[in-house]
Homo-oligomer: 129 residues x 2
């Protein structure tokens, strides 16, 4: 059985997260379009441009580390599920990427979901893990 | 210019969300493996098996509606970003799918992020929208 080759977009987002974890901001910036836009819908924050977005990551506080749980790419889109750990606490991040025709990351939308208590009424269908 | 054909996995998850919005639980169930596993990491809830998972959706309360913002598929994986509305409130959902070799959905992991206030210290890099 042959293993199918990964899409260019999934390889790019894997390189993005590798550079992030390595704090290699030169490699990280080289994956981004000059006019990249980064959106955080939960806070309605937006960062515009490669320089500001690299700095946003470089200045991000805490001794955070990440592993990539999933990277999926198709055409000019990709999505990742990463697991961040900071001071022993794990936090998932879900990221959606759009690429420019030149193969650079032109838009990133990140989500950072928090734990919550399940609503009542579905105990007959679910188990807890 | 030719439009590249979508992957089988992205077409399947688009059909999954269409069936969900249409409350067509027969079409919805036909996309799922018999032993499908559905995980909600935020509440650590798990639903096992097609029958229970169809019922979980069928019984889900509220007059919810959804649109697919993004669907990305590659090989045996896919990811979607959907926008749910319930009673005028919008809620994003991020879903990661694993397929069986037979092309059925074998595992789904859903995230439902909520709004939060941004931490201080990055006002020099971000705008609000």
């Amino acid at each position: 059985m042959t293993v199918p080759s990964r899409s260019a977009s999934s390889r790019s987002v894997e390189a993005y997260w590798s550079a992030c974890e390595a704090r290699d901001w030169v490699a990280f910036g080289a994956l981004l379009a000059e006019d990249v836009v980064y959106d955080l819908p939960q806070t309605r924050e937006r960062v515009r441009g490669r320089a500001a977005y690299v700095r946003f990551n470089e200045e991000y506080p805490g001794d955070w580390h990440l592993t990539v749980e999933r990277a999926v790419g198709e055409g000019l889109h990709a999505a990742t599920w990463t697991r961040f750990t900071v001071a022993g606490t794990e936090q998932p991040a879900l990221s959606f990427f759009e690429f420019t025709e030149a193969g650079l990351i032109g838009r990133i939308t990140d989500f950072w979901p928090e734990p919550y208590e399940p609503p009542p009424g579905r105990e007959h269908l679910v188990e807890r893990y």
